[in-house]
C-alpha cells in the first residue's frame, strides 16, 4: 500500500514538477529518463531473456542514423523516421539473433558476437562518406517545429522521453505477466529444461531480441533530435552499449522497475561528478566502473534485490 502511494506521488511529481525546475536539473532529469529508457529496452533481452547483449549500440545507432538520414536526405519527419529506425533495428536484431541462437551461442559468446556486430557497424559508418563518415551528421534544429520533432525548450523533450519511458514500463510490465514473459524467464533459468517443457527457446529469444532492438532504436532517434548531432563513435561505440545496460544491472536486471531505479541512482551521480570535476575528464566513468564493481560484489541482484531481501527479512 505504502509503495503504491509513493509510486503515485512520484508519477505526479514527474508530471507536474519539471516546468518549475531550472534548466540544469531539468537536463539531468532528461538524462535520467533517457538512460532509464535504454535500460528498460535492454532489460527485455538482457534481463528477462538472460541474453547479455554488449552491443545494443548497433540498434541505438540504426535508430539515430535512420531517422536522421531520412530527415536530411528526404525531409521525412523524425517521428516517422523513428518508426522506420525501429523496424530496421528489429530486422537487424532478428538477423543477429537468428545467427547467434541458431548456432547455439550462449553466455559470454553471445556477448562477444553482439559487441562485434556493433563494432562492425561503427567501422562501416566511420568509413562511409554517404552517412557523414567520422565527421558525423548535424540535425537542423534552428526553427521549432513539433511536427518535425524539434522543440523550442528542453521541457518538451522532457515530456517526450517521459512518455517513452512510461510506454517502455507499461510494455515491460505487460511482458512480465504474459506467456512470453514466463517463457523468457524459463529459458533464462534453464534453456534445456524450458525446451523439454515445450517452450520454443529460439522463437521466444528472437521475440525478445526484436522488441528490445525496436525500442532501443527509438532511443537513438530521441538522442539525435535532442542533441542535434550524431557520429559513429557516439551512436555505435561501446560506451552507449555499456551506459544503456548499467541502469538495468544497478537497479536489478529482469525486474520491471529496476532500470528506472538504477538510472535515478546512477545518472545523477555521474552527471554531478562530471560537473564537479570539470577539466578532469574520465572521473565520472571511473566512478561508473567502481560502482559497477561494488554492485556486482555486494548487490548481485541490483537495488531491487535489496528490496526483496528487506521484504524477506521483515517476514512479508
Amino acid at each position: 500500500m505504502a509503495a503504491r502511494v509513493l509510486g503515485a506521488l512520484a508519477v505526479i511529481a514527474l508530471l507536474v514538477a519539471p516546468p518549475l525546475l531550472p534548466k540544469y536539473p531539468l537536463e539531468i532529469l532528461i538524462s535520467v529518463l533517457f538512460f532509464a529508457y535504454l535500460g528498460l529496452a535492454w532489460n527485455i533481452l538482457g534481463g528477462y531473456a538472460g541474453q547479455f547483449s554488449f552491443g545494443h549500440a548497433a540498434f541505438f545507432g540504426i535508430g539515430a542514423y535512420t531517422s536522421t538520414l531520412l530527415l536530411l536526405r528526404g525531409g521525412v519527419t523524425p517521428w516517422l523516421g523513428m518508426l522506420a529506425g525501429g523496424v530496421l533495428a528489429a530486422g537487424f536484431g532478428l538477423f543477429e539473433g537468428y545467427l547467434s541462437f541458431r548456432y547455439g551461442l550462449r553466455g559470454p559468446y553471445f556477448s562477444l558476437v553482439t559487441l562485434a556486430f556493433a563494432e562492425m557497424l561503427r567501422v562501416v559508418s566511420v568509413n562511409a562518406k554517404a552517412v557523414g563518415a567520422s565527421i558525423g551528421l548535424v540535425i537542423p534544429t534552428g526553427i521549432a517545429a513539433p511536427a518535425m520533432f524539434v522543440f523550442a525548450g528542453k521541457l518538451s523533450y522532457y515530456y517526450v522521453i517521459l512518455a517513452m519511458t512510461a510506454a517502455a514500463l507499461v510494455i515491460t510490465r505487460a511482458l512480465a505477466r504474459s506467456r512470453l514473459g514466463y517463457a523468457l524467464i524459463a529459458v533464462r533459468e534453464n534453456e534445456d529444461a524450458a525446451e523439454a517443457a515445450g517452450v520454443n527457446a529460439l522463437g521466444v529469444k528472437l521475440a525478445a531480441m526484436a522488441l528490445s532492438s525496436f525500442l532501443t532504436a527509438f532511443g537513438g532517434t530521441f538522442y539525435a533530435q535532442y542533441f542535434a548531432y550524431i557520429d559513429p563513435t557516439i551512436t555505435f561505440g561501446p560506451a552507449i552499449s555499456i551506459q544503456g545496460l548499467l541502469p538495468a544491472i544497478v537497479g536489478g536486471a529482469g525486474t520491471v522497475l529496476g532500470p528506472l531505479l538504477g538510472s535515478f541512482v546512477l545518472t545523477p551521480i555521474s552527471e554531478l561528478t562530471r560537473a564537479a570535476l570539470r577539466g578532469r575528464a574520465g572521473a565520472d566513468i571511473m566512478l561508473y566502473g567502481l560502482i559497477l564493481i561494488l554492485v556486482i560484489s555486494f548487490l548481485p541482484q541490483g537495488l531491487m534485490g535489496l528490496r526483496r531481501a528487506a521484504r524477506r527479512a521483515s517476514g512479508r
Binding site: 551461442l105 559468446y109 564493481i293 548481485p300
Partner: protein, 290 residues
Amino acid sequence: MSGLLLQAVVSGLLLGGVYGLVASGLTLIFGVLRIINFAHGAVMMLGMYASYWLWVGLGVDPYVSVLVTAPLFFLLGMGIQRLVIEPNRDAAEHNQLLLTLGLALFLENLALVLWHGDFRTLRVPYANASFVIGDALVEVSRLVAAGGAVLIALALFVFLRRTDVGKAIRALSEEREGAMLVGIDVARIRAVAFGIGSACVAVAGALITPFFYVAPDVGESFNIMAFVVVVLGGMGNFIGALVGGLIVGLAESLGAALLPGSLKQLVVFVIFVLVLLFRPEGLFGGARGR
C-alpha cells in the same frame, strides 16, 4: 609478390607476434578462471605507462624496464584477482564479465584522470633503425617486439609443461574438482594465473612502446584483437593463441593494404563473427566450445 603486399605480410606478422603474447595472457586467464577478461587491455595500457614513466623519469630503456614491470604486474594481477575477482568466484557468468568490464572502465579512466588523454611517445634513440628485406622495410623495434613476444610466449608454454606451478595451472584449467582433490591450493593458483596473464600483457605493452603511442584507451583495440585471437585459437589453447595472433595480425595488415580507410578492422570482426558462429571451439580446439 608485389612490394606493397610483402610489406603488409611483414608488418602483419610482426604485429601478430605481439597479439600472440597479449592473447596468451588472456587465454591463460580464461583457461583457469573461465572469465573473459575485459580488463586485459587496461592492464596492458598500465604496463605501457609504467615503461613510459620509467623512461621519462629515470631514463630506463623500455626493454630493460620489462625486468621491473613484469614482477610488478604479476603482483598487481594477483592483487586484482584476490581482491576483486576471487570474492565473486561463484557469481553468475555475465556478472563476472561485468566485473572485469567495471575494472576496465575504472583503470582506463583512472589513467585519463591522472595523465590526461594526450598521446605520448617514447623517443628512444633507435626508434628509426631499420633494414630492408626484398622490397619490405623492417623496423628493428618492431622485430624486437615480435621476437620478444614470441619468445616469452614460448617460455610460458615451457613453464606450464615443466614446473609444478605450471602443471597445477594446467590441472586446474582441465578439471577443477580433480585439482582440488589432489590438494592443489586452487585460490592461490588462480591468483598466480591472473598474475602471469597480467605480467604477459604488461610486457607486451612495454615491448611496443618504442613505436606505439601511449594513451588511456590504447588497450581497447588490443583487448578486442586479443578476444578475436583467443576465440580463433581456441579458448585456453596457447599454441592456438600464438598462431591466431599471427593470423589476425596478417588479416589486419593485409586489410589495411587492400581496403580504404579504417575498413581493415572490418576484416578482423568478420573473421571473429564467423569463427564464433561456425567454430566457437576455435580453429585448433580449445578448453570449451559452445
